[in-house]
Symmetry: C2
Subunit: 370 residues, 2 copies
């Protein structure tokens, strides 16, 4: 194999597919990036068997062939090359020479034949949205997936398509994040659970512009994302996602309008008194026109008042401050509305248009301590 | 005690003195920042018994007093306060209230009486240089101090003043870095060894402008740096610094002029084939008009040619690539000159004005392997 392409194209391709290289694996071939120049295009592929990424880069093929190169070493080399044309040449024993200007690297690759290509998925009826929208909706929900594998479904996100609505849901047993997106066309009803890791990697590699789209294809077992000249194929998580409808009652006893930035900075300040692993709640004491936030730990105590608009009953309620911070950080509104029922029922942060709902379970706290 | 000062002043002061708070200590009081408002100024102090930093900040004292507050907690709180006036108030039992706008923190401090003040050093005849110069000379030499305590002197830097010349030297047994600075006045001959840690912290807290100075005072056991309203006092390292004069022979067999950026990028590229802890040398094969750089490791091999101007003999010589990278990074010249004698004698990188000398010992390498 012999091919020539610019360092910047090569680097873009390597950075894109590298996201699918497993950090730990017993199969050495999976630690490689496959360079496939066997036909008339240069295709880079990486695959950890759950998630596969493939991208086509511009360049000249002087001799067809394929080679698998250790992803870490190859990407280190590419990154450090001068900004000029790169020549990659291999021989029958997989010895690979990477030349750029006067720099010449020799490494040994592996046979491309041993590589596991990403599965071929038939693509029909793409669901289309802007790269920006997809990236945003991931950012706005990904923080509340579960990080432990006890319930595999909770490590993914529900993508539910109903006509021209996309609903994305994540939950970890203490909180639920829901975003509703308006699509430009209507589609058949579909419901899949996408692994959190896939979404995290996707949101790193899509440029996220508003004027370029990503096409999404769903099959029984796989989801495919296509954008620019990159294809991402991921397995889906099998099983029935948790029913959230019954949690989403619209009854409330207390409705609070509050400045988002003030609430966020206050909770952020309060958490510095809480050491990692120490489960001190932040306590909200909601009265007419005022929310007093209090936290107390063995380091000290903190309290602060924030002006609010309140409807309904006064309430004294405690939360894990991190859950509030996570949700408030991804809401762009200047003012947010909280809905509460009682100190043991979940609090909702939601807007009037129904574009987002963040549900946070309260925690018990010892009243005497305050 | 009760005092009022702006969050930004307080934060600047806290960040400055925090550099002298020990990370590990058995004396809890040393983990504190002392706020001393016992006279007519607000003074913050931290002291790890080797290095002490004191700074005066603007503010209003409403009630005189002193208090010692846990440095980590106090600086976390200050950092997260809104950008407004901060009120710090303490009572007889060292309970401390920190209030800013509507946020109110309560923490418990310690008696300021238990705090170890920084030693009083008589200041006469300051050595004066711009903050920029001091910061630069530290950056240009600090990387070659020794990081192990076997030879305490090598963990510091020699500051030698001879008339209007300041010479700064650091060495670790494999290399020597020397910088010569022209001072604006002449001073009595002095020679001290300053702990590396002191210099690292100093270079973090001096703003480093060219139009503001730092005054340096030397005594038998201490060095004092004074700038803006901050005083840094450090112990010196006792003992006789290694004599470097005999190493600095000016004989050479090979003289090489080379583009610094090209050499640095090439060595930087080469090192990606070397894993941490793996002692693979970079080999320079110097011939007429050309330097070939080669490196070989179990990952692969790399070679690259660089145009040079050469005087004298050809030479094949190997070096620890890190030592070359460290030295080249802090040289601002576009072109550098290397002086070599033979493959077992040190290489010098130095300029004609004598403002810097970097001496690097070569390493043995197996000729056959190349």
């Amino acid at each position: 194999m012999k091919l020539i392409c610019s360092k910047s194209n090569l680097l873009y391709g390597v950075n894109t597919v590298s996201k699918a290289v497993p950090t730990r694996t017993t199969m050495a071939i999976l630690e490689c990036i496959l360079i496939d120049a066997s036909s008339n295009e240069i295709k880079l592929t990486a695959n950890d068997m759950e998630l596969g990424i493939e991208t086509v880069i511009d360049g000249t093929i002087e001799e067809n062939g394929i080679i698998a190169l250790d992803a870490k070493i190859f990407s280190d080399i590419v990154r450090k090359l001068p900004d000029n044309d790169v020549v990659i040449e291999t021989d029958d024993s997989f010895k690979t020479t990477i030349t750029c200007e006067k720099a010449k690297f020799n490494i040994v690759g592996k046979s491309g034949e041993d590589f596991s290509y990403i599965p071929y998925i038939e693509r029909k009826e793409p669901i289309t949205m802007s790269q920006f929208t997809l990236k945003e909706v991931i950012r706005q929900t990904i923080f509340s997936i579960s990080d432990n594998d006890n319930n595999k479904l909770m490590t993914g996100e529900l993508f539910e398509i109903n006509e021209n609505q996309l609903k994305v849901v994540s939950l970890d047993g203490h909180r639920v994040s829901i975003r509703n997106i308006q699509l430009n066309s209507s589609y058949d009803y579909k419901k899949v659970v996408v692994p959190g890791k896939t979404l995290q990697e996707i949101s790193k590699i899509i440029p996220g512009t508003t004027d370029e789209n990503v096409d999404i294809f769903l099959t029984g077992n796989h989801i495919v994302f296509e954008f620019n000249r990159t294809t991402v194929v991921s397995r889906l998580i099998e099983g029935e996602y948790l029913r959230i409808e019954q949690m989403l009652s619209s009854d409330y006893e207390t409705k609070i309008k509050i400045n988002k930035r003030e609430l966020l900075s206050c909770i952020d300040r309060a958490t510095l008194l809480v050491k990692e692993g120490d489960k001190k709640p932040i306590i909200m004491n909601v009265t007419e026109g005022n929310m007093e936030l209090k936290i107390q730990s063995f380091i000290g105590s903190m309290n602060e008042d924030i002006d609010i608009e309140k409807e309904g009953k006064d309430i004294l309620i405690g939360f894990n401050p991190k859950f509030f911070i996570d949700a408030l950080r991804v809401i762009d509104d200047e003012e947010v509305t909280l809905y509460m029922v009682n100190p043991k029922a979940p609090c909702f942060i939601k807007d009037d248009q129904g574009s987002y709902i963040y549900l946070i379970l309260p925690v018990n706290f010892n009243n005497v301590a305050n």
